[in-house]
């Protein structure tokens, strides 16, 4: 199945060009230019992977990350940023990011991380649905 991707970055040109490049490669890519908007989109749709910028006006990437993980724990979030910062990088990982990638970055590298995130999410969803089935059986439902 096509991976459903949300790209969040306050730089409109960037999100559009990345979305286009992903669409060409047959990904279902949506864009968002603010943290607030991204959270609304995430709560309304089951994205597989969110590509999230760190430095944005208003809500910054780390806050958005925390919120996404709260409302959609299984959605994988990859930080994609121009900010090389050790503290922020590790903090993002602690908050559940799958990876922290520095711009500029090769599209191939990005794709392989997106695929990894997508695979991981699918796998976890399968485990949970299997667990639900087994739970029902076990409980005699």
């Amino acid at each position: 199945m096509k991976a459903k991707i949300l790209i969040v970055d306050d730089e409109e040109k960037f999100v559009n060009s990345l979305a286009e490049r992903l669409s060409i490669r047959d990904y279902d890519a949506t864009t968002s230019v603010s943290g607030q908007d991204a959270i609304e989109k995430v709560s309304g749709y089951n994205f597989d992977v969110v590509m999230l910028d760190v430095v944005m006006p208003g809500m910054d990437g780390l806050e958005v990350l925390r919120e996404i993980k709260r409302i959609k724990p299984l959605t994988e979030v990859i930080m994609l940023t121009a900010l090389p910062n050790v503290e922020i990088g590790v903090e993002a990982m602690k908050r559940g990011a799958l990876d922290y990638i520095l711009k500029p970055c090769e599209i191939e590298e990005l794709i392989s991380k997106i695929d990894r995130g997508h695979a991981r999410k699918t796998e976890q969803e399968e485990r949970i649905s299997a667990a639900e089935v087994s739970g029902r059986c076990y409980n005699g439902v």
């Binding site: 430095v55 993980k69 724990p73 121009a82 900010l83 090389p84 910062n85 050790v86 503290e87 922020i88 990088g89 590790v90 993002a92 990982m93 602690k94 908050r95 559940g96 990876d99 922290y100 520095l102 711009k103 500029p104 976890q124 485990r127 949970i128 299997a130 667990a131 089935v133 087994s134 739970g135 059986c137 076990y138």
Partner: protein, 873 residues
Amino acid sequence: MFGLRQAIKKIFWGKKQKSPNPEESPDDAIRSRFKTKYWNFKSFLSINSAILEIMSEMELALRGDHRFGMEFIRAHCTSISVSIYQLIEKINEISGRRYEKLYYALADIQYKINQILEEREKSIEGKPVLSIKEINKDSANHTGSKMANLGEIVNLTDLNVPHGFVITASAYHLFLNHGDLQKNINQQLQSVDIEDIKMLGMASSNIQKLIMQSPIHPELEGAILDGYRRLEEKTEKDVKVSMRSSALGEDSQESSFAGQYHTELNVSYNTLIHSYKKVLAGKYSLQAITYRFNKGFRDEDIVMCVGCMAMVEAVSSGVMYSKDPGDIHNNQIFINAVLGLGKSAVEGSISPDLFVASREPTIKILKKEIHVKDQGILTFSNKELHTVELPEPEKYAPAITDIQAQFLAKQAVILENHFKTPQDIEWAIEKEGLVRILQSRPLKQVRKEDNEFKDTLAIKVNNHTILNGGVAASPGVACGPAFIVNSAEEIYKFPEGAVLVTKNSLPQWTTILNRAVAVVTDRGGIAGHLATVTREFGIPALFDTLAATDRIKNGTIITVDTYARKVYEGKAEALLRESPAGGISRIKGSPVYITLKRTLKHITPLNLTDPKGDDFTPDGCQTYHDITRFCHEKAVKEMFDSGKNSRGISAGKRLIINDVPAQWWIVDLGDGLKGSMEKDTVRLANIASAPMMALWEGMTAVEWDGPPPVDTRGFISIMVESTMNRDLCASSQSSYTQNDCAIISKNFCNLSCRFGYHYSVVQTFVSDKSGENYIKFYFKGGAADHNRKFRRMKLIKDILVKYDFQVEIYEDYMNATIAAYDQFSTLKRLKALGYLTMHTRQLDMIMGNPAKTAYYKKKFLKDISLWFPQAGE
């Protein structure tokens, strides 16, 4: 987050334990668990090798052969920290969260690295504006050394310096911290690939715009205007000033920053603030950013102070050196002079007159080179800048008289004596003949050893001479395609490794110097900024050839020889052979280099070398390398132990050899099998696991020729014995303890064998990434008495050690490991291991006989050497 993952995991394992699926056996559960563990392990290994790769890139940078900036260090530190976090996650996933303490070790190291990366110059206390009278040499870290030196000259010598004031380092901080300016600048810089000159050009212009549009702190504005008012009182009303950078860290012998920054002339009260911003913005000109990068300066190392000095109505001006910049042993004084303002002398658009003076016993003019002044002269009079053309006869007169040259030379000596080091001095002479010192800084001299004058004229060069003459601004011989640059736009097109050919020796060409192998110009003298920087960068430069852009064709290969002052067509091989390679490593010892070195102290040293040592714990991890080493050891052990425990797995496919089912079970982890096969059986041809095949090859390469085996069954019969044991099939409980099992993937093999009373496990991972490769071998038992067992283990150990394994023997078992060998070498060692497990199993009976033992040791070594044709490998 951990909570969630754990919950999911619980659900997951919970399901397996109380499986509702009647077809799913406990075997499947074990296999599935091992499979999950293995895939975790595999991604562990790839994170592990990513970390080692980042480390080696950083260590490579430390060799100093290539330029790198703070962004390189920040990005690598960030990536490695994130990867270490992922590694710790993985080892905890593999081990059932047994090593959560590692997060503390990471936090500790990460904090230390961050401290180094984020440390900023402490905001400097002090007045934002100081009069030149208030400062001296010791004020340098508040005013920049350029202005501090001028203050020193004003206050401690009899020489004349224009009146003026300095806008200090604290003013700079006040300006940058007003609003989000500094933050916005950092953001612009962070996303730029510094080698991509187009991108850099964009960032440079964005940042300069940001600075120009940024509002000035009212307190700072007041102080600057006040400084100007006080200057008016000392000079005259509406005095015009020049504004030039006096950056902290700007002037030193190693790094001149010559001409890298912006100077504003003829500034009035109304344009003061605008001009101040313009000078600050000059910190981010394309050439200044590249210069800093090339010299290994961090952005925060440069604090722009700005000197404001009353304009001088100069009749003539220029630059002088109190010693020969091209020869550390030459005491002669070099004076470059132009008519009007000195701007054109340092900017290289005019070839200045050169006067060389002796210093001892008396100052005497030894040599003069006077140029035709056929270009407009920039002057300042009546508070305005003018460009004037000289009438014909005056064009041939020298810019200064001999007496003025002698007087200047005297001042150069005074300054050198005062500052106790050779000086590079900017001067101006006013109408009444008064000499003003505009700047004095340490002179960068080329060491004679580096600049050993090559008698290249003695070398026979067959190439056609294109140019002959000019001045050697920087010594050396170099060859490359000529690239003629006429305009600033062409900077972007300048190819790596080309010879820069251009009309004027402008400072803006310094942007290209990191890509140019040599520079040839029509005009410009050795005192220009471009000349200074070519010397600093060790790039041969031949200036003032008058005809370079006419005679050299764009794109043709040329060889530049500054010793002979010649440019040849093509590659002058003989010449290049005789001349040392140019280019000096500029990065070593620079602030950026030192920062890298400091961060690496927390990253690459390996303290945890002994897995049995007391400090081999999460607490003992002092560096990222320690964490990586610790995790790797534990991850391999986890897998190994699981492999040992899962030898009972019969859920795999049975191996068929020569159409006969063997007592071997193959468990595929995902990509270990290939081709079509039956549901429950597999043939050798199906096995896609390179390490498994290597082991197999070792086991079967040489037939057993020893004493009759104890059980009298033949060599292959042992592996095929299952034909006689039909009860040992998958459904039988007895199979859980008896059969041998290989858990395989393409790159992985965990093989547990039980032959008679011997039990051995080989676990290995082999891929083309050497950093991930390892072999772990465990051997136990034998039915013989203790002495025989020990002798056999000793025999195996002796052989394994010869092939670089690390071997330890305990009571009745041994462990051998080897890691990080390349694919080929690892596979060879697997063959040797396969051979040994097969051939040592029947040795108990001969272990009592030393002669026989020696015989077999020799034979084994000989057989194994089959895979190691080169002795000592």
